[in-house]
Symmetry: C2
């Protein structure tokens, strides 16, 4: 194998596939990046066997020559060294040549690296995915949907299925749900293209976080293909494969209350900052618990109290308070996560008593919903 | 105690004194910040008993009112909580009031914090320093001199004296020297004001690093007062005290070679980048060792070799190579530290054989010098 490549393209591509490479793998060759050069261009592959990323650099693009392949072929190079080397090369072009015993020479200007390569034949094959069943979604919408749900997945392996985000496609709509059993985030969006049948899969939270880092913020569409145990995201020149989690996701619909006894509407930023301040003195306690009380149907009081350190109390103006008086305690962290995920300058919170889960929503927007379970403090 | 203060001034002052507060202290009250309000203004104090910082906020400054003191007094508040609270307060002004049992109320807008305070009488007194013997140095020069030497102090407590920087004042000149016994950094500068007698002290590297973070980049002068066991830096509204290290600093003058056998001059940035690249494959080996060889008195070759991973070799153009041919090995990290400390686009390196310490200097500038001991690899 021998080719000359533009450094900026190589660096970007290596950075993308590195998102899938783990230094802690039981399969040694997966600490490497597979590089394949052909007439059309160069393909990089990284994988930790859960996530696999393939990045393609076309020989020519927009009239610019990216790659000149002199000899086609493949090699696997240690990802950690290769990625550091390419970032620090001195010139704008890089020559890569594989010699005997997989010894690979990387040249740029007067710098010459010799890296011990590995046989690309040993590198695992990527999943074969039939593209019968694909749908499209704009990059920016996908990133938003991931951001608004993935923070709520469980970080504990007690119930592995909860470490993923449940994606359901039915009636031309994509619904994403994440819960760690203390709070839940739901976001849905109509799909622009018709999808045959229904899908109900669970995608690891980590896969979605990594995918999000690779996607640009354009409204270009990405193709999504689902199979029984894999999902494939096809962006321009990048393929992102993730395995799906086994098992069935809990039915979350019954968790979401249909009625409410107290409804408040507050200014999102003011409310978030008050919760943040109250949490300062709640950190020592159990899970940053703060207390919310409605007062005279005209404002809410946010407070917390850690006797060893001190206490804090703050009034937050409400746009409206409707229904029963309420005193409720909850995790400040969960509330702040939920508020940051929501868009809009105002948010509405619907309570059904101090012991029942409550809902946080943007008024007039039924595509997103955050649910938090209160903490018993009385 | 009761006063109203501008939040921005309070935040800046707390941030400065926090540099001296350690959470790991054997004296519990030192986890707090001492606050004293008087008619002139408010003073904050933080200390870990090695470093003490006092920041003063004058009641009026440049025609602006910073503080209105209603009742004079003192209190000590938990530094970690107090600093987080003041940063997150909602309004531009803050009211602070001490009530019974040192309970302190912090009010800003509709937020009200109650913090358990401690008796300020229990807070240790700062060192009493007589200002007989002081000298001045511009802030920006002091920061530069710290930056160019402090990185070379020892991080090991085997020889505690080497964790400090040796400051010597003689013949109207300040000389700063740091060495960890593998490399040495020296920077000197003439003093603008006459100083009586000579000084030879060792200031903890950590103190100088923290001081550097507090100083602005202006060329305002800072007053420096030295006593037998303390040094005091007096900037505008900030006093910075540091204890000195006990013991006598080794005589480093004899380490610095007077003659050389090979002299090279290279472009600083190109040379630094070549060393950086060579170090990529040297990390696994012992202490990032790279090799430098002069070739035909026309260029140098930088290389490293770690058989398990690969090797790298690079030619670096020289402005000049004078003297004997040379092959020498050294720590890439020490070389990069030294190059980053030097100013100027070109640097000169003077070697006295492969086994002797060598000097790195900016040609034509004798105020700064970096010395590195080579590594035996042959």
């Amino acid at each position: 194998m021998k080719f000359v490549i533009q450094k900026d393209k190589l660096v970007q591509s290596v950075q993308d596939v590195m998102k899938a490479v783990s230094s802690r793998t039981t399969i040694p060759i997966l600490t490497g990046i597979k590089i394949t050069a052909g007439e059309d261009g160069v393909t990089m592959t990284g994988s930790d066997s859960d996530i696999s990323i393939e990045s393609f650099i076309p020989s020519e693009e927009d009239g610019r020559v990216n790659v000149e392949t002199q000899i086609s072929g493949s090699i696997v190079l240690q990802a950690r060294f290769f990625s550091e080397i390419v970032r620090k090369l001195p010139m704008d072009t890089v020559e890569l040549e594989v010699g005997h015993h997989f010894m690979t020479v990387i040249r740029s200007g007067k710098a010459e690296f010799n890296l011990n390569g590995l046989d690309a034949e040993e590198y695992p094959h990527l999943p074969q995915i039939e593209e019968n069943n694909k749908f499209q979604i704009p990059n920016d919408l996908l990133k938003t949907m991931i951001r608004q749900t993935v923070f709520a997945v469980s970080t504990s392996e007690t119930r592995p299925i909860l470490t993923g985000v449940n994606w359901k496609i039915e009636n031309g709509e994509l619904v994403c749900i994440a819960t760690d059993s203390h709070r839940l985030a739901l976001r849905k969006a109509p799909l622009e293209t018709a999808v045959e049948g229904t899908h109900n899969v669970v995608i690891p939270g980590k896969s979605l976080s990594e995918l999000s880092k690779i996607l640009d913020d354009s409204n270009d569409s990405i193709d999504i293909v689902m199979t029984e145990n894999q999902v494939l995201f096809k962006a321009k020149n990048v393929l992102f494969y993730s395995r799906l989690l086994d098992g069935s996701y809990p039915d979350t619909a019954r968790l979401i209350p249909n009625e409410s006894k107290t409804e408040i509407v507050v200014h999102t930023k003011e409310f978030l900052q008050a919760i943040d301040r109250a949490s300062l003195l709640a950190k020592e306690g159990r899970n940053n618990v703060v207390k919310l009380s409605t007062v005279d149907n005209s404002y809410v009081e946010i407070s917390s109290n850690t006797p060893e350190i001190g206490k804090v109390i703050e009034e937050v103006q409400t746009q409206s308070v409707i229904g029963e008086e309420l005193k409720i305690s909850f995790s400040a962290k969960y509330m702040m996560d939920a508020l940051k995920a929501l868009e809009g300058t105002e948010i509405g919170i619907s309570f059904t008593g101090a012991m029942r889960p409550f809902l946080i929503r943007t008024p007039g927007d039924d595509t997103i919903l955050q649910l938090i379970l209160p903490v018993r403090t009385y």
